[in-house]
């Protein structure tokens, strides 16, 4: 399967093979991510789409190996820029975090430390990874804040997060992520907590900056509108697995997995019939502690057959660059 994925480019920046993450909980072991295969090419934006609990955020955190003490990450390999992240020691992994791979989180309100100045927080990765002095790092922080369009950056260095609005804080988070010129930026629902107008600004900023620096981006979102505008390729996740992946335009034009089709149908459209009711996918998202043996979507799928309830379908190419995990329906 990975050959099919790799056929597009020689070596992707990030290649994830057979990534699984499980958590020990009071209700037993929860398999949040199950045999996920992904790749991200240099400079491209891959969107990971799915509803809450589909495993998209956990996938991102597990790439950074930050899933916490009760989580276990398993993978055949996670190849980033030629290094297998899974084989690195914790100390080596720390040199990757915030340096080669940076993250932006969902909650700009709580993701910045309330007792440290913006300048200190933006400068910190440069002191840590590039061995700069605090003074030098602060000087560079001004440039970074300028790049994310924070007005009067020099004066804002000594401000605290509570002096900023949500959108401004997310800009600070982006500046922090860019500090060490990472090759990959993982943005975990970066705009979910923001006003709609601010959302567009932040996403456009991210897009511009990644284009400028050549960094690749993993954009985690549940918003298909965001995907259409900002992603090059899309991976759709459901019940901890990737069920379909394709270039963004291809996925919109030609969704092949019944879940993706359901998602597309449930997006309201401006030029549709105003009296038309919104489509929904019947049923509930799966319980990760109690997944069905077959396809996780089978209980909600209008085309489900016996075969679908036996074993999960593998992710297989159905067109160049277009893969889906489905036994087919016609």
């Amino acid at each position: 399967m990975s050959e099919a994925v790799q056929s597009a480019t020689a070596t992707p920046l990030l290649l994830v093979e057979d990534l699984s993450v499980s958590f020990r909980t009071d209700r037993g072991t929860v398999r949040a991510v199950d045999s996920v295969n992904l790749h991200v090419d240099a400079g491209e934006t891959l969107a990971i789409v799915g509803e809450s609990g589909s495993g998209k955020s956990v996938t991102a955190m597990s790439l950074m190996r930050l899933v916490g003490d009760n989580g276990t990450v398993d993978s055949k390999r996670v190849l980033f820029d030629g290094i297998d992240l899974g084989a690195l020691s914790e100390a080596q992994m720390r040199k990757v975090r915030g340096n080669r791979i940076a993250m932006i989180f969902q909650e700009p309100m709580s993701s910045l430390n309330p007792v440290l100045t913006i300048g200190k927080q933006v400068a910190e990765p440069m002191v840590l990874h590039q061995g700069l002095s605090w003074r030098e790092a602060r000087r560079r922080a001004v440039t970074l804040l300028q790049r994310v369009s924070i007005p009067d950056p020099e004066d804002r260095l000594d401000s605290y997060p509570h002096h900023f609005s949500g959108g401004m804080r997310q800009r600070v988070m982006i500046a922090m992520a860019l500090a060490c010129d990472p090759k990959l930026i993982i943005a975990d629902e970066p705009t979910t907590a923001l006003d709609v107008t601010v959302q567009a600004q932040i996403l456009a900023l991210l897009k511009d900056l990644t284009r400028e620096t050549g960094a690749a981006q993993i954009l985690i979102t549940h918003d298909l509108g965001v995907v259409a505008r900002y992603a090059d390729r899309v991976a759709v996740m459901y019940g901890g697995r990737v069920v379909e992946t394709a270039p963004a335009h291809e996925l919109y034009a030609n969704p092949q997995h019944p879940y993706t089709q359901g998602l597309m149908a449930s997006v309201p459209s401006l030029d549709g019939d105003p009296g038309k009711r919104l489509q929904t996918i019947p049923g509930q998202p799966p319980d990760l502690a109690n997944l069905p043996p077959g396809c996780a979507f089978a209980p909600r799928c209008p085309y489900a057959r016996d075969e679908c309830r036996q074993a999960p379908p593998p992710l297989e190419p159905i067109a160049p660059q277009h893969l889906r995990a489905c036994y087919g329906y016609e």
Binding site: R94, G98, M103, N113, V115
Partner: protein
């Protein structure tokens, strides 16, 4: 900031007036007064004698007059004389207060150096054996009264090793080492009692802080865990701990009364105990007044510390 301090100091005044009333009245409600004690000691029992002594000490006046005389004295910096020794209360306080202050400060240092590292350790190793041991230790310290522990420390080493803690007080500036070797044992006992709650609070707050999003951000930056704790978690976690320390200040003073008695530390606590037994009203009132002011000042200090720890608080 200055305006804030002035406001706070002015706000102390009504509190102090109220506290002084409580002290003044409650002391006179204790059965048996100072005259009874004096008479018992001198074997004189005629009511004429009693009236004479009462008049000479001003105790024949109605209670409110006694109160206003006392308050008037305070305003002139005069806390009255001891009824027994005829020395000014202010002089007695000046002699004993620094000793108790030293004991309290040492105890606080002990408490913080024990409580904060253990609290942090416990939070980082939540639900491991180390955490359980630390938490059991703090429960034990909460449960054991320091007078009992103090007695054990006095008795058992002398039985086992024919050694007991030194009981002779030497002023700090005369011989710091002799002074500290005397003070350290009661300071440790007092400090451990104080550390129990502080440790649990530190642990709880660190656990709370370690779950925050900004800690995840710090880890995603590639910071090692010790830097995550030191730079990102500790200051946030300590804000409520500081409040707790302020709230525990009265406990510290209460503990000092008992431990000074056991270890013969000639501080304010020992003076208070003797004064209560002797119904020496001016001394008792003076000590309570000083204690009250001290506690209010500690709380002012706590509030000012917030401004330093939490940038959202500005005065």
């Amino acid at each position: 900031m200055q305006a804030f301090i002035i406001r706070r100091v002015l706000a102390l005044i009504p509190t102090l007036i109220f506290a002084s009333l409580i002290v003044f009245v409650s002391m006179r409600l204790i059965p048996g007064d100072v005259i009874d004690q004096m008479m018992a000691q001198n074997d004189v029992a005629t009511s004429a004698d009693r009236a004479r002594v009462e008049a000479s000490l001003g105790l024949d006046q109605p209670m409110y007059i006694q109160y206003f005389r006392w308050v008037g004295g305070i305003l002139r910096g005069d806390l009255g004389n001891s009824l027994w020794q005829n020395t000014p209360v202010t002089r007695q306080l000046a002699e004993t207060l620094p000793i108790t202050f030293e004991l309290g400060l040492l105890a606080l240092i002990v408490a913080l150096t024990v409580a904060i590292p253990i609290g942090i350790y416990s939070a980082m190793r939540q639900d491991t054996a180390g955490d359980y041991i630390a938490r059991s230790f703090s429960l034990l310290m909460l449960a054991i009264p320091s007078f009992w522990l103090g007695t054990l420390v006095m008795v058992f080493p002398s039985v086992w090793w024919r050694w007991s803690p030194p009981l002779e007080y030497t002023p700090f500036f005369e011989n710091p080492i002799a002074n500290l070797s005397h003070m350290i044992v009661p300071a440790i006992l007092l400090g451990l009692a104080l550390s129990a709650v502080t440790m649990r609070m530190t642990r709880t707050m660190m656990l709370e802080v370690l779950r925050q999003d900004y800690i995840r951000t710090a880890r995603a930056k590639g910071l090692a865990e010790n830097l995550v704790i030191a730079r990102h978690a500790l200051r946030n976690g300590l804000i409520p701990v500081v409040t707790l320390i302020g709230l525990q200040a009265p406990l510290l003073i209460g503990g000092a009364v008992i431990l000074e008695q056991i270890f013969v530390v000639p501080g304010m606590g020992l003076l208070l105990l003797e004064a209560v037994f002797a119904r020496d009203y001016p001394v008792i009132s003076g000590i309570f007044l000083v204690t009250g002011v001290a506690i209010l000042l500690i709380n002012l200090l706590v509030d000012l510390t917030y401004g330093f720890l939490d940038p959202k608080v500005r005065y």
